[in-house]
Symmetry: C2
Subunit: 268 residues, 2 copies
């Protein structure tokens, strides 16, 4: 199974997949040379997404999880791929639709919010739901700085979440793979009455279910290999990866640009 | 003259150049599809820098200002270019060395700090100076969010600057092209006794001086053309560009990847 994200935040999906399916072999691709996707245009995110998928297909994966919300939101509609592809939006929306009374808040990157992917997916499932989405561009940098339990982060979250709280949301979708790391901080700000939906957990549940349905169930309580590939290997990415996976990791650098590869071959 | 940065932050250099040399024609390239550079590795930043310079040379510029501190810090040593190239580090360091009593603080991205470029440049000029550099990864996102006069930003700045204040810095280098937008906030935190050095202003002064010395002085009080090119044209970049230049702007999308261009041509 291949998993990709703009950076290492998508390892929250890997962590969740490994706890559900410990015997599943995984190839993870973090496009760290081009992160973040969440501030960029749909055309650019689509180009990067198609490139990541081609790269993973060349590696022989039999399924792909698009762990990046921005890529799932902006680039999956136009895809025809020979293996199953799971995005994070649809499972996250389904989990929220299953538990909300009437008002769903969504926090996500600017690009994901602009795409309207969550409101659309929620309304396909339950047209009567009220949905409000709030872009939160500072949360990814705060997670990457490691300020997870920090009064500055709590203040930033309060700023972003107060309009949703005043509006009366009963459910909040954490619509970015970095945000599960902020779950305790989000809980401090929203209080006990709001249901939190983690899109990373939702997609890994969906993958496990679909594999079981299709007869491709992965059994075994351990032994899945995990290969971690990144397009840029700055030390900050390794630190964040270790924090998410809670183990020491080795990131391997790869180049995903096919044109460069083609040109190199033609010159060699 | 060509100017490039990882994003639109380098327009602080353009604003400063235009106020000094209003008749100078400028081509600005913001590599917004790959920003930020400041969290990425030296190898990746060098690759992007060389590509940006080739692109600007193909446009026929007669000089290049590397407005990005991370690129100036990590990628200029290895360059042989047919036109004059100015980085921001050396002029910023010279301005700080000219006014510091003994202790210079530097705030910059993680990549610029890791490169040690400011301490090296300062020690070349005045070996006896004490220099401390503080990485500030949250400042660029805060500027891009537009929280310039905001208690959250003041708190973040206090967190980053307090160790430098306790140590007794007399001069502080704003070592990132986004930071001039935070100058009032930085002043609130450091008080009146610390001299602030703006690397964007320092490089534009150096360019004006060098052009005058070489006899290529640009005279005239208006009329310089400004072309704004970006590798990704998300609306957030246009908003920030307008805030920096204080005028309405049009960003034009370009692709700087030569291999893609070559491949496209070979296919067409």
């Amino acid at each position: 199974m291949g998993v990709f994200d703009s950076g290492v935040g998508g390892l929250t999906v890997v962590a969740s997949l490994r706890s559900r399916l410990p015997a599943l072999d995984l190839v993870y691709l973090g496009d760290t040379a081009r992160l973040p996707y969440g501030t960029k245009s749909a055309a650019t995110v689509a180009r990067y997404t198609h490139r990541n998928i081609s790269f993973l297909l060349d590696r022989g994966v039999d399924g792909i999880v698009v762990a990046c919300n921005s890529a799932s939101a902006m680039a999956l509609d136009t895809l025809a791929v020979s293996v199953p592809v799971w995005g994070v939006i649809e499972p996250g929306a389904a989990a929220a639709a299953a538990c909300s009374v009437s008002r769903v808040g969504v926090i996500a990157t600017e690009a994901t919010v602009r795409s309207q992917a969550y409101p659309r997916a929620l309304h396909r499932l339950r047209p009567e739901l009220d949905v409000r989405a709030q872009p939160c561009p500072l949360l990814v940098p705060l997670v990457e700085e490691g300020w997870l339990d920090d009064e500055v982060t709590d203040r930033v979250l309060r700023r972003y979440l107060e309009p949703l709280l005043l509006w009366g949301m009963d459910t909040l979708v954490l619509g970015c793979t970095h945000y599960p790391l902020l779950e305790p901080a989000v809980r401090r700000v929203v209080g006990p009455a709001v249901t939190l939906v983690d899109s990373a957990a939702a997609v890994s549940a969906r993958v496990a279910e679909d594999l079981a349905t299709s007869g491709a169930e992965v059994t075994g309580s351990a032994g899945g290999r995990l290969e971690l590939l990144v397009t840029d290997d700055s030390p900050a990415f390794a630190r964040l990866a270790e924090r998410i996976l809670d183990e020491s990791v080795r990131l391997h650098w790869v180049d995903t640009v096919p044109a460069t590869a083609a040109l190199m071959e033609s010159l060699s």
